[in-house]
Symmetry: C2
Subunit: 339 residues, 2 copies
């Protein structure tokens, strides 16, 4: 398996990305390869001659002299920078020269490039980003968190199907319970799109659908998969990030006020929790629905994230998630009414 990694994407690129890529090689099989995409000179220098010799064919470089900035407008940037790491990385996948792509760069540009170059899986209308929330009750997959902010019911349905496959075959959850993000448990709750989406998902008896879920339910072990439009999902994702940070800040402050010793004792436990419940542990978010394996990492990705993203992309690829999605959608009778 050949895994192309955007060496220039993310707040800590290229150093942490390249280090993560190199570390992950240790866990790959013979014949596998990591392909670092970015300015060849920069990458070669960072890797060093010793590593280049050591890893041989397992560590390749593909030159991409341009970089898309984190804040650039995705579509415009892709049009202007045809030789950017994101463009060339996705082209490798489209041309069959890479089996997976991983980027911690500009999310919008990455999603757009994957869609344009790699196209969608047959039967999928729109891809969705699936983020795994590590909760006390187990991992919960939320899809979509930002690829598609104007969702139709058929998109919700396909997110339910795709995230179920992911939860089952990558996270190992037996019969994932799927909920649709709404504002009350009762069927009458939610906006029109959510209501229609609920009916559509419910009509597929092969999905373990539990109906509406509320924001709080994600952390209560009520569901394994939560589907939402990309706007709501993105708010959920970022709110969770901000709230966790904010809460630990509060805890630290209160502990320090109480006793410095207590604060010091609490610190290693906090670090352990961070490690355990941190989404970096899951490496990145698969872009479900594109015709290939695409993993989108958080902008703050460091060595561990990239290493885990490589492992996740392997599992995704080896479990043939896309073939399972394609097969499922080709046999279901469920069709969206509006597209």
């Amino acid at each position: 398996m050949r895994i192309a990694i955007d060496a220039m994407g993310g707040d800590y690129a290229p150093d942490e990305i390249i280090a993560g890529a190199i570390e992950s090689i240790e866990k790959l099989d013979k014949g596998d390869a990591v392909i670092l995409v970015g300015p060849a000179g920069v990458i070669e220098e960072k890797i060093g001659a010793k590593n280049l010799r050591k890893y041989g064919d397992m560590l390749q470089i593909v030159d991409a002299p341009e970089v898309i900035d984190m804040n650039e407008s995705p579509i415009e940037a892709l049009r202007k920078k045809k030789r950017s790491s994101i463009s060339i990385m996705t082209k490798l996948a489209a041309d069959g020269q890479a089996d997976a792509v991983i980027s911690a760069g500009n999310t919008g540009a990455c999603v757009a490039a994957c869609q344009m170059r790699m196209r969608n899986i047959e039967g999928v209308n729109r891809p969705g980003i699936a983020v795994v929330f590590p909760t006390f009750e187990g991992p919960v997959t939320v899809c979509d968190v930002g690829a598609n902010i104007a969702c139709k019911p058929v998109n919700f349905y396909q997110y339910a199907v795709m995230a179920t496959m992911y939860s089952k075959h990558v996270l190992g959850i037996e019969n994932p319970r799927v909920g649709v993000m709404s504002i009350g448990e009762e069927d009458a709750k939610g906006n029109e799109i959510v209501k229609k989406s609920r009916e559509l998902i419910k009509s597929d008896k092969n999905i373990n659908f539990i109906g509406n879920i509320e924001g709080r339910d994600i952390f209560k072990g009520k569901c394994d998969v939560a589907v939402s439009d990309g706007f709501v999902g993105n708010v959920v994702l970022k709110l969770t990030e901000g709230l966790v940070d904010g809460l630990f800040k509060v805890i630290k402050h209160e502990l320090m006020q109480e006793s410095l010793l207590l604060a010091m004792k609490f610190k290693p436990i906090m670090m352990k929790m961070y490690q355990k419940y941190d989404y970096h542990e899951y490496g990145g978010a698969p872009l479900l629905g594109v015709n290939g394996t695409a993993v989108i990492c958080h902008g703050s990705s460091k060595v561990r994230t990239i290493r885990n993203a490589v492992m996740m992309s392997r599992k995704f690829h080896n479990q043939k998630i896309n073939e399972k999605i394609k097969e499922y959608l080709s046999t279901t009778n469920v069709r969206g009414t509006d597209e």
Copy 2:
């Protein structure tokens, strides 16, 4: 000032509600009154003859034999149960017999009853529920969190105006910074309604508008007011609840695993934090835009919440928030394009 309280609303009604109402009398001025609305026999018994004598005219009872259940369909329940505590409480306000209403009962029914009976402030198209999030960086007012799930830009604009008034005159924030909940800082981010709403709010130079905010920014001290549609706001509210609970569960678990002594030492600090950052501290959420003072409390409200809700309703009333909103909207040049 006469404050009508739904004695039968919430998970701990009527006991905690009645106890909270009685406690709050101690802080009222002579001539003020608390009016408990619910089955007269039940309330009288709970209050006891001693308290009835002690508080005299400051503690009144208005009979309402019916109760709307937490899970009943709001509109249907209001139609069927004309003698419910929520119906009669809002009728008191409409008839000028109460200056404020407070309920921890069925939120949908309460919002609908307030709208139907009390009507909207002149110039307001739709009311919105404003919840105060107590964060490390200070209180952030989020509006709407569930009254209006299909918002138009004019609603967003009016939420910005009304929540600014609330933040300024009730929470005491000098020049509240207003953000619109979206999925990225850049102007290009967000769905169509959010984009239009942003332009509308931006066109009012009297609002301290900072543009888009993301979910994480609520806890980062970036804004004092966040406006959103009721669907997104409700997800934000409930997610926050669930995540805080979930996180404390994780902390407790990890501490217990590490050392029981450490867990015990952490407990009182956790309780202190809960007290300090708990939204019960703010008593309840004002329903901004109705022609009167209406406070919606969480279903889990206990004595402290009700006491704080009474205090908040006084401040809202005394600060003449509704008159300020009316005056503001009558002089602004900003008009929604679609209504």
